[in-house]
Amino acid sequence: MMEGLVKVSIDINGKKYTDDVEPRLLLVDFIRDIARLKGTHIGCDTTSCGACTILIDGMSVKSCTMFAVEADGRKIQTVESLATDDKLHPLQEAFWEHHALQCGYCTPGMLMSSTFLLSRNSDPTEEEIREGIAGNICRCTGYINIIKAVKDAAGKINAGKETE
């Protein structure tokens, strides 16, 4: 191992990625450059925009606020994990339906924040959705369609649970 490097092993979307990294390597750079999962984006350097939002052990986190070494041994989910076998996640379905994205740069972060929100609150009010995505900036859509999409997805997920 090169001097000063630390061995890090992170489970991302069910796959283990191991590498020797500088202690100062940001988690977002580990995800993008080492795991080469480019869906997680970078939109700022002050942990303000949420474009880099992921889930760590189920908790939503801005991956630019953490060092990769802090995520050693933990389980991460990124936007790439949402669709399975090319079947969209209900949130992705709803975002599509409601044209809740334009340039799509904020979308992965929005989806991960919304996933977290719905995991904690399966039937959020509009206010709760606004609160849930308060840390995610979108410069294109004006948020209204995103809020509608999250609400709609929650409804569909719940309806699906009832029929199960």
Partner: protein, 810 residues
């Protein structure tokens, strides 16, 4: 290319009912890509062996560079190179200037030469083996500065004795022009009232969520620099860059990745980054990448023009405005990089939405020690629209009339359409009264006026504000000749290419570049319509590559032009291709062309029901070519360059020209409540009624209008680039430069009324910039709310702090 010399194409039919694929809110197929994290944005493009660049930035607003010591920086392991302005100056020419001399003598380089002129100006570019090292190393460049006096205000900058930014110019004036249209002086003389005031617009930025970035690589085998960038007008920027680097544009390949994370005008003057990175990649014979960090994007991405107006309106007793006389001064920051275009672009909307033919404008633009300005969503019209909307309220106050009444009285009438404004802009149809009345209903104007009365009795501060904007689209470059008659550009053009591949799939390309405007789906709908074939048979190629895309020198997505310009070019190209397809089919089927129609990826005979799939026609055209009609050129490629007629194509001696092809418009209404203790403002209601013309895809158009509304709200209530007297930007990151989030965005009641554009082929109008509509309605509403306190507002940006201190000063 198979092209007919003469092409007569009817305008698209009048009613939406005539269409099958256009005019419907088709879900945006390309959304599926970023939704799954599969998009490719600039920073996702990778080339092995890439080096990373970072800038050393100026900590001063204005200072002489006495010495740059790069030794410490070069000692850091992993550092490959440090570039300074001095080296660049020796190896490139300064960028061409739009303005004629003396301000055209200004020397603009992408790195500071001899002195810095704004806070955050790049002084050196450091290249290292990774981005972390590059950023560390940039901090190690040791620059010795000698601070100089600073000027941040444009009016001050034009005063005798002001610090001068560019010695080669001699003063800070970029350009000055007078528009003397109709007879404003007479109107003022004959007016019952002269309503006079000062209006100011503040400085904010485009801030797309993805910042600008560049990846350049030099290919020795073909002596070509390949540049991946996010530039919005790649083929217009190319000669600017190549002129400076003294190389032919054909040796410079411009690529845009399939996804660009928003732009809003803020990705045009980033040609400075492209120049530096391209230069370094050739010098170091290695791929070099640079992605702006957010602070860099806020400091010198693109700011919009701050403007101050001193206005006098000629007003009749009944509230009719008969003339306007104004002096306007624009603050363009340290370098005019697209400026002084902004000094004429406001003239797209000279009378706003009102019927005023006598207008006198004395317009100046000045350089100051602030970041460079350029196109920001609603470029230069925001300011002018805002001025009109503030002044209409002043008229109402003076005459003690309802501001809605004053507006209604002055609106251009439907029967005056198409309306020729005093500067020969041709407003291409619309029903402003209908839109206005619809807006009043939408926000329940009358009811809120009643509520306001009640609220005031209880000490509550509720206000209602209105504003209207003209959102002009598809620019005529000839307007720049007002600034410089020798500027070698006029008119507009865009290219569409439609082809059918070997298996019969329709393929479309154009020179516009998508930044989130859903071009693939929208343009696919146009091709579908012409071929009467579902979207599954149409492939639109996203992204841009100057060696494989079609392009015109003006190609790009800016000035709300894509649907109008590229849409029309593709419509023409598709019709041309269909003609050839029908000719081949007629020959193969032994039928008359007039009995054939294109339908569902085939050509069918209306007479015999015989059918020939596009795949079979493609086989004939591309492979089995001896079976083609005699003399027919093989292949199925059609190409059309659309160059619109603006009627008044070139400016006359009075600076009159039709500056854009379409003029969409929107009316905004806001109800706010201001907390009487904290002066926090809360939007209780916001309505928008707009007329985008025929909507190829209503889902997309409404999305654009909603986005523009967000930008306006954010600009009025949050975003503010605040400089101190030393020229230091106090708001240079997302902690200080606040943009609206989901909690700040009120519910928006949005409606569209549609009248076809009288000047565009498809009846569409350019939309999406929105002209800053909500800014006027919010400021008017807040001032209305504060009326009991007698507080008068000046600027287009409001903060609770400022209101509080105004209220407590009294």
């Amino acid at each position: 290319m198979p092209q007919k010399a003469e092409l007569v194409v009817e305008k698209a039919p009048e009613t939406t009912a005539a269409f099958k694929y256009m005019g419907t809110p088709v879900k945006v197929a390309e959304d599926l890509i970023p939704l799954q994290g599969k998009g490719q944005y600039l920073d996702d493009v990778e080339i092995p062996g890439t080096l990373y660049m970072a800038y050393t930035l100026s900590p001063y607003g204005h200072a002489k560079i006495k010495k740059i010591d790069t030794s410490k920086c070069l000692e850091l392991p992993g550092v490959h190179y440090v570039l300074t302005g001095e080296e660049l100056k020796a190896n490139m020419d300064p960028y061409m200037q739009i303005a004629p001399p003396p301000s055209g003598n200004l020397k603009d380089y992408p790195l500071a030469v001899d002195k810095v002129r704004y806070y955050g100006e790049p002084v050196a570019a450091v290249v290292a083996s990774n981005a972390y090292i590059a950023e560390d190393a940039a901090e190690l460049v040791d620059v010795e500065y000698e601070p100089l006096p600073v000027v941040t205000d444009a009016e001050d900058a034009l005063k005798e004795g002001s610090p001068v930014l560019h010695d080669s110019v001699g003063n800070n004036l970029v350009w000055r022009g007078v528009w003397d249209l109709g007879d404003a002086e007479k109107a003022l003389k004959e007016a019952d009232y002269v309503v006079e005031d000062t209006v100011k617009t503040h400085r904010y930025a485009a801030v797309p969520l993805e910042t600008s970035g560049v990846l350049a690589t030099y290919d020795q085998s073909v002596d070509t620099i390949t540049v991946y960038s996010v530039n919005q007008m790649p083929m217009f920027s190319l000669p600017i860059i190549c002129g400076a680097l003294r190389m032919p544009p054909s040796k410079f390949r411009m690529i845009l990745p399939p996804n660009v994370g928003g732009a809003f005008g803020g990705k045009i003057i980033n040609f400075t980054h492209i120049t530096v990175v391209a230069y370094l990649s050739k010098l170091l014979k290695a791929p070099v990448k640079y992605v702006e960090n957010r602070s860099e994007n806020i400091m010198s991405g693109t700011h919009n023009n701050e403007r101050i107006f001193h206005v006098k309106l000629a007003v009749r007793k009944d509230g009719r405005v008969t003339g306007a006389y104004m002096k306007a001064v624009d603050n363009c920051g340290a370098y005019p990089r697209y400026e002084p275009a902004g000094a004429v672009i406001w003239a797209q909307v000279v009378p706003g939405i009102y019927d005023v033919q006598n207008v006198y404008v004395d317009f100046s633009q000045a350089t100051t020690n602030k970041g460079p300005t350029g196109p920001v969503r609603g470029y230069s019209r925001i300011q002018h629209n805002f001025m009109w909307e503030r002044m209409m309220n002043r008229v109402a106050q003076k005459l003690n009339m309802d501001p809605a009444e004053v507006r209604r009285l002055n609106l251009i009438k439907a029967e005056q359409m198409p309306y020729e404004g005093p500067s020969r802009t041709i407003y291409d149809g619309g029903d402003y009264h209908k839109a206005f009345d619809t807006l009043l209903d939408t926000i329940e104007y009358g009811k809120w006026r009643e509520k306001q009365k009640e609220a005031r009795k209880q000490g509550k501060l509720i206000g209602i504000g209105l504003s209207a904007v003209i959102d002009s689209g598809a620019n005529n470059f000839a307007q720049v000749k007002i600034i410089n008659p020798h500027f070698p550009a006029s008119g507009s053009m865009e290219v569409g290419l439609v082809m059918i591949d070997q298996f019969g799939t329709l393929v479309a390309r154009t020179g516009t570049t998508d930044q989130g405007q859903s071009h693939a789906t929208t343009f696919g709908q146009i091709v579908s319509e012409v071929f009467n074939t579902g979207p599954e048979n149409v492939v639109f190629q996203q992204g841009f590559d100057s060696i494989s895309n079609v392009w015109a020198a003006f190609s790009g997505a800016y000035a709300s032009r894509s649907a109008v310009m590229a849409g029309t070019a593709l419509y023409y190209a598709a019709i041309r291709l269909k003609e050839k397809v029908l000719t081949i089919a007629a020959h193969a089927l032994g039928e008359l062309e007039s009995d054939l129609e294109a339908k569902d990826a085939a050509v069918v005979s209306m007479k015999t029901d015989k059918k020939l799939p596009l795949g079979d026609i493609a086989t004939l055209a591309w492979l089995d070519v001896n079976k083609l009609p005699e003399d027919m050129e093989p292949g199925l490629v059609s190409y059309a360059v659309y160059k619109p007629d603006f009627t008044y194509n070139m400016p006359d001696e009075k600076k009159r020209v039709n500056n854009t092809l379409t003029y969409s418009y929107a009316i905004h209404g806001t109800v706010v409540e201001v907390d009487p203790e904290t002066y926090e403002m809360k939007i209780l209601k916001h309505g928008v009624v707009s007329d985008p013309g025929f909507m190829i895809n209503p889902l997309v158009v409404e999305g654009q209008e909603m986005g523009a509304t967000l930008h306006g709200i954010s600009a009025a209530l949050m975003e503010n680039l605040e400089y101190d007297e030393d020229g230091i930007l106090l708001t240079s990151n997302f902690w200080d430069y606040l943009v609206a989030g989901a909690k700040h965005m009120p519910d928006i009641d949005m409606k569209t009324i549609v009248t076809r554009s009288t000047s565009s082929v498809l009846g569409v109008r350019g939309v999406g910039e929105g002209g800053g509509g909500p800014i006027g309605s919010i400021v008017n509403a807040v001032e209305d709310a504060l009326q009991p306190l007698g507080i008068k507002l000046l600027s287009s940006n409001l903060s609770a702090n400022e209101l509080y201190s105004k209220a407590n000063k009294k």
